[in-house]
């Protein structure tokens, strides 16, 4: 499995508080069969999450050393979850924020963001040959029509959903919405967005999808290889 969205880099956002917490969660993920984890600390001006890539990298190197010490067989990657704003294109250009792979950037919006602004973000990013992955789209109040998701994909967006939402943590309606999206093949990634320890979250999600849909679907959503290879 591949987890493309986590907050496991300590000290820089609202994720794990220290290295120990991070190692604990990573260790649990390894035991579930996760092979790749993308650490995606927030880059979010309004919440003052503005840690530079260089600073993140130092913490990341230390974390990697601790992982090696624990003999954990896992590949860690450092990127960002970017709160989209009118500065984002500049931030990308100046390399203040990092993609998950090549040009694949994880971006998020406020829960009340309008469809116009979300589509605008996708248009602007693709115009610059960046490929946006829209994080936890189940959270956006104005993004609740199948046609809108189809439209966003058509103009170049990738869609990510959180496991906890699929498992019912945001209520039955959100769960049904996500299942409908999976049925319509509109989701590209399911990820943990993990901030705190939750045992077996990844494998629970995987098994749920495998049971409700198929192994092939679970593989596609939890093991989407495009994040590792050149798109």
């Amino acid at each position: 499995m591949i987890d493309i969205h986590t907050h496991l880099l300590p000290f820089v956002d609202d994720g794990v508080k220290n290295y120990e917490e991070s190692v604990e969660i990573i260790s649990d993920m390894v035991s579930q069969g996760v092979k790749h984890i993308f650490l995606t600390p927030h880059y979010y001006r309004l919440r003052n999450f503005l840690s530079s890539y260089d600073d993140n990298l130092k913490i990341f190197q230390t974390l990697k050393e601790k992982i090696i010490q624990e003999n954990l067989d896992i590949s860690l990657h450092l990127a960002n979850e970017i709160k989209y704003s009118s500065d984002t294109l500049k931030d990308i250009e100046k390399e203040k924020v990092k993609p998950l792979n090549e040009n694949l950037y994880l971006i998020e919006f406020s829960v009340n963001e309008t469809m116009y602004e979300i589509s605008e973000a996708v248009y602007n990013m693709t115009a610059k040959n960046y490929q946006p992955i829209l994080a936890h789209i189940e959270r956006y109040n104005h993004l609740n029509q199948i046609e809108d998701i189809k439209g966003l994909k058509k103009i170049g967006a990738f869609i990510q959903v959180n496991i906890s939402s699929l498992l019912g943590h945001r209520g039955g309606r959100t769960k049904r919405w996500i299942k409908r999206l999976i049925k319509n093949d509109l989701i590209d990634f399911i990820a943990s967005d993990t901030h705190v320890f939750r045992k077996n979250l990844m494998v629970q999600g995987y098994q749920y999808v495998e049971n409700k849909f198929s192994k092939a679907v679970a593989e596609k959503l939890f093991n989407n290889q495009i994040i590792l290879h050149k798109v």
């Binding site: 500049k90 469809m115 116009y116 248009y123 990013m125 115009a127 439209g151």
Partner: protein, 227 residues
């Protein structure tokens, strides 16, 4: 509308009946301005999705085709679309001129089609106030000296007052309605408002016409002063 793919038929399929219809439109505008050339042209419509932006970009392409130095300004500052039609990021534009005091030359974007663009740039609060400013007038004056023709895309008439404010800056307005789509009542009311404001309506464009239904081989049909 959020995912509408704008087509510039004059550029993409220059020999099509659709492209020909836009050339007819340009000719008709030219005939209107025999004595006094109309060089700054605004496109507007009653409601969203009627075809303003599509008309603007295709008309601009006709002028560019004729060898005229052509500029499009996106003055729909609330929901700008021109950058989408030209596959550009809406990074720099009118906002930078108004707020950051950038020079006009620095905000003009050159497109491969030969048409130059002034996009909206970052979001401007209270666009109707900005559009009425001397700075905006100065921009129009300057670009009028730099270009042969300027097309100005604007918001729909019935949504906000911006279209009226913009009409004070231009030589004439093209009123776009979508066949079988724009509500007749909306089209009438908006046109009435434009007339009452004494705006120079060059004429109207009937967008979205299916040639199979009308029997014409043109998709876009130009007509004088719609009733």
């Amino acid at each position: 509308m959020e995912f509408f793919q704008y087509r510039n038929v004059v550029i993409e399929t220059p020999n099509s009946p659709e492209a020909e219809a836009y050339r007819k439109l340009e000719l008709n505008i030219r005939l209107q301005g025999i004595d006094q050339k109309i060089r700054v042209i605004q496109t507007t419509s009653p409601t969203p999705k009627d075809g303003k932006t599509t008309t603007a970009i295709n008309l601009a392409a006709v002028y560019a085709e004729r060898g005229l130095k052509t500029l499009i300004i996106d003055f729909d500052l609330r929901k700008p679309k021109i950058h989408r039609a030209f596959k550009k990021a809406n990074e720099i534009g009118f906002y930078d001129y108004i707020v950051e005091n950038k020079a006009i030359e620095d905000i003009i974007i050159k497109d491969e089609s030969g048409i130059d663009l002034i996009l909206s740039g970052k979001h401007i609060t209270s666009p109707h106030i900005v559009l009425e400013s001397k700075k905006t007038q100065a921009l129009i004056d300057k670009v009028t000296s730099l270009y042969d023709v300027i097309i100005v895309d604007s918001p729909p008439v019935l949504s906000v007052t911006d279209a009226f404010i913009i009409s004070n800056l231009v030589g004439g307005v093209i009123y776009v309605v979508a066949y079988n789509q724009t509500k007749k009542e909306d089209a009438k009311v908006a046109l009435q408002q434009l007339r009452e404001a004494d705006i120079n309506i060059l004429g109207s464009v009937f967008a979205n016409v299916d040639p199979k239904l009308t029997g014409y081989s043109y998709n876009y049909y130009y007509r004088q002063e719609e009733e």
